[in-house]
């Protein structure tokens, strides 16, 4: 690796007439799903291009194809007119495409400098690694992006925001022409976000084409020059950011107006307290959290990453231990603090992590659905299998769960249908309070509105729904009241009518 990368063409005029990267007619299929259907994307040097879309729109598939993680089924990728054949992440990097994924792919035990030069350590006499040069070059790279990280620091000890900078420095070390930032702000504080934006603008000034992947409107309006929207694996629009308003962008993303995505059929919430939480603290995260949820109400909890939503969800249902505080369901204390008691009192969790906490992947759909209510089908300890299957079939019909049969292994169902089975698991049991954690994570746009309708219906049937979410539209579209968390504390509770994005974000920052 030469030293040339440190100052090539700095400040030189960027030729924007030739695209840095051109993707044409990209198709990608997975078993049972068309992830990308004839998608085009053109990135210009020196420009920041936002790629937007809901979960499941195809954003990550597209950038994984760029990164060489997936192969494409059809289409071409050209860089400055030359067709690329990307077969592996290594190829992609060699061609000058650097993708900074949300889950950062650095070796946490290595130093920053070691990570930057991972693919090719400069060597000195006799093939030994020239450590001094590595450190010096690393420092020079950070100098160029205008952000300083200690090259000798152990990477794992750095906050995510600085690890991102290490990734960006790696991109420069590889003389990347295209840098992709995948949802880079999801775990950053507002301060860190503005620093990141400065660095991203600097990359563009160096003539690098930046692809900024996000579903957050405000960020895109702040930083992007151009926006491409994907929906259900298809290209919807590519326009200069100036041509968009909030509403037009949302409409492009969800394909309809926001009201129709959240059809409210339930009436006003009742006044009966179904769940009362007082002074709840846990060893690691939660500090003195108190709130009440009423029967027939959706109480939405918002917070940035690390705010403690999932921790609260797991503590409230008795899954994770607490250090102090009380939890009461319909007036009965959750004692002893375990899920066995919780379910008996009628509180259950719809987990955010379906694979490791919800699904029994290799077991059939009907066994997954009946797991929490097996006792109802037992006679002298024996399962009434006919009754069990009939009850499950009932839910499969009512919720239009798409499965070839009740005997299908649940891992073969789509995310939306898996989620419906898990909701059925609780409905078959019968609950007073359901805690739903990121209920639409990893679910197609089409199925999302069905999940929303189901949540609306749960509250309509008199359950108290406590919903943890990081999606602002979901929060505002479904909740009767909004609670906001920041670093393990509850910072605000307001009614839906009082809640604005600004108020919520302010409370989330703390």
């Amino acid at each position: 690796m030469s030293v040339d990368f440190l100052h090539p063409g700095e400040g030189a005029a960027v030729d924007t007439s030739v695209p840095a990267l051109e993707m044409r007619g990209i198709d990608k299929r997975f078993p049972g799903v068309v992830a990308l259907d004839n998608v085009d994307l053109t990135l210009e040097p020196g420009k920041i291009h936002a790629l937007m879309g809901e979960n499941g729109a195809g954003k990550s598939t597209l950038i994984k194809i760029m990164a060489g993680v997936y192969g494409k089924d059809a289409g071409t990728i050209r860089m400055r007119g030359r067709e690329l054949d990307i077969k592996s992440p290594r190829d992609s990097l060699k061609e000058g495409i650097k993708v900074v994924f949300q889950e950062i792919a650095l070796i946490s035990e290595f130093t920053v400098a070691e990570n930057i030069f991972l693919e090719g350590y400069p060597t000195g006499k006799g093939g030994s690694i020239d450590w001094r040069k590595i450190r010096a070059d690393s420092a020079a790279l950070f100098n160029r992006i205008g952000f300083n990280v200690d090259p000798a620091a152990r990477t794992g000890s750095l906050p995510v925001s600085q690890q991102q900078m290490v990734e960006i420095a790696r991109a420069l070390a590889h003389e990347a022409r295209v840098v992709v930032m995948d949802e880079p702000t999801s775990s950053l504080t507002p301060n860190e976000i503005s620093l990141l934006f400065t660095v991203i603008r600097r990359l563009a000034a160096l003539g690098i084409a930046v692809l900024y992947v996000s579903h957050k409107l405000d960020e895109v309006f702040e930083i992007a020059d151009t926006v491409t929207v994907l929906r259900d694996g298809r290209h919807v629009s590519t326009r200069p950011i100036g041509d968009h308003t909030n509403d037009t962008l949302i409409q492009d993303m969800i394909g309809r107006r926001i009201e129709s995505l959240f059809p409210r059929k339930r009436g006003a919430p009742g006044s009966k307290v179904a769940l009362s939480v007082q002074g709840l603290s846990t060893a690691k995260k939660l500090k003195d959290v108190s709130f009440e949820a009423h029967a027939g109400e959706v109480l939405g909890f918002f917070g940035l990453m690390g705010a403690g939503r999932t921790e609260l969800a797991k503590a409230v249902v008795g899954f994770d231990p607490i250090t102090s505080g009380t939890i009461s369901v319909d007036g009965h204390r959750l004692l002893p603090h375990d899920t066995h008691t919780g379910v008996r009192l009628g509180i259950g969790l719809l987990t955010e992590d379906r694979k490791s906490e919800g699904l029994m992947g290799e077991l059939p759909v009907y066994q997954n659905a009946s797991l929490a209510s097996l006792g109802a089908f037992a006679r002298m300890g024996f399962i009434d299998k006919a009754g069990e299957r009939k009850a499950v079939q009932d839910y499969v019909d009512r919720f239009r769960i798409k499965t070839p049969s009740l005997f299908q292994e649940i891992k073969n169902l789509s995310g939306g249908n898996q989620q419906k089975v898990l909701i059925s698991r609780w409905l078959m049991r019968g609950l007073n309070v359901i805690v739903v954690d990121e209920p639409t994570r990893g679910i197609d746009v089409g199925a999302k509105s069905e999940i929303f309708a189901l949540i609306d219906r749960l509250a309509g049937e008199g359950l108290a729904v406590v919903m943890m979410t990081s999606e602002m539209p979901e929060l505002l579209g479904l909740s009767d009241r909004v609670a906001v968390m920041c670093e393990g504390r509850l910072t605000a509770i307001m009614s839906r009518d009082d809640a604005t994005q600004e108020k919520i974000l302010n409370a989330a920052i703390g």
Partner: protein, 329 residues
Amino acid sequence: MEMSELTQSSAPRRFIGGQLLGSSQLVLGIILAVLCIAISIAAPQFYSEANIIAILRQCALVLIVASGMTMLIITAEVDLSVGASLAFVGCIGMAVLNSTHSLVLGMLAALAFAGGVGLFNGLVVTRLKVNSLIATIGTMMMLQGGVYLFTREAVQNHHRLVSFTDLGAGYIGAIPLPVVIAVAIFAIAAVTLRFTTLGRYLYAVGANERAVRLSGVRSERLKLFAFVVTGLCVGVAGMILASLMNAGQPTAGRGFELTVIAAVILGGTSLLGGRGSLFGTLLGVLVLKVIDNGIIILGWNQDLQMVVPGVVIILATYLDIIRNRANVR
């Protein structure tokens, strides 16, 4: 177009083929049949009533413990201490028989000890969260050493109880008593796994313990149960073995745990938990013991008794992988 039609029409056929091959039990059944026919042709005495009874008797001990072990492995845990416990149980049972002259008290002592070992394993795994492979290796070493603290040599039969001798050598009709006991334990375990809520929960815990716990089921208790049942099975098997040897042998049961686990795995039960059946285990036991018997009857070198089953396990597991791949396609 022609191509796609071709693949489409062949797809269902391949699927049916996959279905037929679909049960690992079928593969195992075929292996068993081929083995029996081949050995019978080479050595007709294989097919004699006496030899068949002998094979069944040898299957009995393994099947008893494998019944419990199948439940345990379905919950994604394993117990490597069963061999060491088997020897210890025989010594303790025999000592209690010698001092009390009561078969009931001897059996109770054996069951209490072996059940206690299972309970200990279960508590270490569920409370201390020690991986069961490591925990039960620890228990195995404690028992292997501990039995010599208890007795330096075999505990001989000083009580001469006829009912104790019958435990290993007796018959009900033409069927050896150990076989009857094994079939009974096997049947209870099979019905439990197949038809009861308890059985369903055992599969569920192996498939995803956290999901089971979130559903309000006490998953630790299910695992504890499976450990204790495995222990109790060892208690029964240990007394039968002591009866057959007419002594409590501290050296007995070496490698027994491997035979048991091999039979369970061979029968298609997944070490990852959540998948498996007792019927498969039965076939697994039969295959291993028919091979054993065949090697003796054919007059081959007896060291092959370890070598051949080793080869069979690798082959059967490989066949299973091929079958799964065919299913995915």
